[in-house]
């Protein structure tokens, strides 16, 4: 699922996820939301960190659980929001 996502971007997103929930292993999850790795407030924290990291503002209308299920959906969201990955 991460074939076309650069290693740097991949590592950056993982690093951000790790700061939010350091006790969890995101690499083993297929759905961060359904499996309870991220709750709605974690998503807000993640959006804020991604905005800062990539110099973008992810639109409020895109802050829905489906966009934060896994690295692939996060990557799609970042590209859609203008991030250069």
């Amino acid at each position: 699922m991460t074939d076309y996502l650069s290693n740097t971007a991949l590592n950056d997103i993982f690093a951000i996820l790790k700061t939010i929930r350091p006790e969890l292993d995101f690499s083993r999850s297929r759905d961060f939301i359904a499996e309870g790795l991220l709750d709605s407030f974690d998503v807000v924290t993640l959006v804020s960190a991604l905005d800062k990291k990539y110099g973008i503002s992810i639109p409020g209308t895109e802050i829905v659980p489906d966009n934060f299920k896994n690295l692939e959906t996060i990557e799609t969201l970042l590209r859609k929001s203008g991030a250069k990955l």
């Binding site: 939010i20 929930r21 350091p22 709750d39 709605s40 407030f41 974690d42 807000v44 924290t45 804020s48 503002s57 639109p59 409020g60 209308t61 802050i63 829905v64 659980p65």
Partner: protein, 355 residues
Amino acid sequence: MNFTFRRKRISGILTVLPAREQSFVDDMKNFNFPEARSLKLKEVMGYDKHRIVEPSVCVSDLVVFALKHLFEKELLLPDEFDALILVTQSPDYFMPPTSNVIQGRLNLKKDLFCVDINQGCAGFVIGLIQAFLLLEQESIRKVLVVNADVLSRKTSPKDRNSYPLIGDGASITVVERDTVDSVIHANLKMDGTRNNVLMIPAGGFRRPSSPETACLEDVGDNNLRAKDHLHMDGSAVFNFVQVEVPALIADLLQHTGSSIEQVDYFFCHQPNRFMLQKLADKMRIPHAKMPSNVVENFGNSSGVTIPTAIAFNLGDRLIQEKFKVCFAGFGVGLTWGAMLLDLGRVNFNSLIDYA
């Protein structure tokens, strides 16, 4: 629904907030979350401190205090207003109306139109619309729009969804006829199909309070609250605001032939900093034009947040200067409304403590 009002103006704003301040760091001890995660939330949402009433304080206490302050300072005379519109979700009683309780406690004249409106975060815009409509009557020269809530008393301290942001307070906004040919535009929408997104499920006639409705329940995400407490579906509210409010403001600006550049300030209801900054980004409004600093300093006091934002960010400048402003309120109902007007050269614009 569009409204147009002519020759009306706001001539004074006073906000009263409880002197009692609680900090988010103290609140955190009640949450069933690791401290580090709560602290991240504090940073993103702008939670820091909030003003909370003592458990026995009611809406009429705050409003009577504020009106006495205005009377004592001779900023308002007890006989010079003909209507008192109280917008609240936390009345002193089911009956009588709290506006009548206020009238009685201050021994105000009997020729006074007192009315309670059950509205929340859009309540400032709703109250102003009602006031402008009343001012069409010859017999009504001046109207008080009173927004007041003490919803901390109905919020679970163990609910991280709502407790850190909640604030209490009251505001008095004096509205009267303008001597110049001013025009005020407003736009209001409601959607009752989503009435359950923000509600207190028990305590009314549909489900009276009982020992059962007072029991704390785990409602997910480690939050505990009772049916007697305020329930907010945070994700649904966030989505509602991000979808509906930009369209509402865009419609109002288009309808009036105005641009974002022509508006000096967008004073929106203050749910949290994150939500407001996302709104501003979506509408390409510079953050400096849309203050988002009320929740971190005072908490979210429903319909009182817009007057609080005006008092906190403009203060005495509003006595000397005039600004083109857009108000936007959104919340319970669901209800969302916006208003475009010239605001300034008021008699007072201040924020005081209730002690």
